[in-house]
């Protein structure tokens, strides 16, 4: 059976999805979330035609290779199984991914290299701004305070 939509990890020959139900005689593999494994085990129980050949789980997903010696009704809630060979191993694509930055040898730039110029730029900028405007800023403020005080004094005196 050639699947019109090849399995992404096996290709179109051995990885074809088996959509027939009951499953014909053959060897199949299925990728399940770990919480789906008990459902698979319940399906397997009491079906002597089903024999699990290999299992492999990486923490969150389980890969199971099983044989069916006579047509067996499949648990459709587990998705379609893939047609497999007895020699198949878990596809590499399901291995935990490596740290991608490990593939690049160059060291990441240090935040300090950007923090120091930024610090100096900000300090000098603020310092310059205060230096340029300090007379205006502080003298105006002082004048306003003394104007307020003298006007208040005049009001009190009158």
């Amino acid at each position: 059976m050639i699947d019109p939509y090849p399995h992404p990890f096996y290709g179109s020959d051995t990885g074809a999805l088996e959509r027939q139900n009951p499953l014909p005689v053959g060897i199949y593999s299925v990728d399940l979330r770990n919480d789906q494994v008990p459902e698979f085990r319940r399906w397997q129980q009491g079906r002597s035609a089903v024999k699990v050949l290999k299992t492999n789980d990486n923490g969150s997903f389980s890969w199971l290779l099983f044989s069916v010696s006579s047509p067996t009704l499949w648990a459709t809630g587990l998705g379609f199984p893939s047609i497999a060979k007895a020699t198949d191993e878990r596809p590499q694509a399901f291995e935990p991914t490596k740290d991608p930055t490990d593939q690049i040898a160059d060291a990441l730039p240090s935040p300090a290299a950007f923090a120091i110029p930024s610090f100096l730029l900000t300090t000098v900028g603020i310092g310059l701004a205060i230096y340029l405007f300090r007379n205006e800023l502080f003298e105006n403020a002082k004048r306003r305070v003394s104007d307020y005080r003298s006007s208040r004094r005049r009001r009190v005196e009158s």
Binding site: Q103, S118, L121, T122, I126, G127
Partner: protein, 69 residues
């Protein structure tokens, strides 16, 4: 620069990076993206923390100057 494990690759917009020999193109594209994102966030973090410290330093030092003069 080239040695047994790494080879130099030219990444548009990033420059030259040394990537592990034997890395597939797809894996390399992902690795370069992650590396580039981390480098950018390091630059942004550095710039922001430097500016924050600069503002704090300026405010504190000028405050002290006007209090103590």
């Amino acid at each position: 620069m080239q040695n047994e494990e790494y080879q130099t690759i030219e990444v548009p917009g990033v420059g030259e990076l040394r990537a592990r020999v034997g890395t597939s193109t797809l894996e390399l594209a992902g690795a370069v993206k992650v590396w580039h994102d981390k480098a950018r966030s390091a630059r942004v973090d550095g710039f922001i923390s430097g500016a924050a410290f600069g503002i704090m330093f300026s405010v504190c030092s000028f405050g002290m100057y006007y209090l103590l003069r």
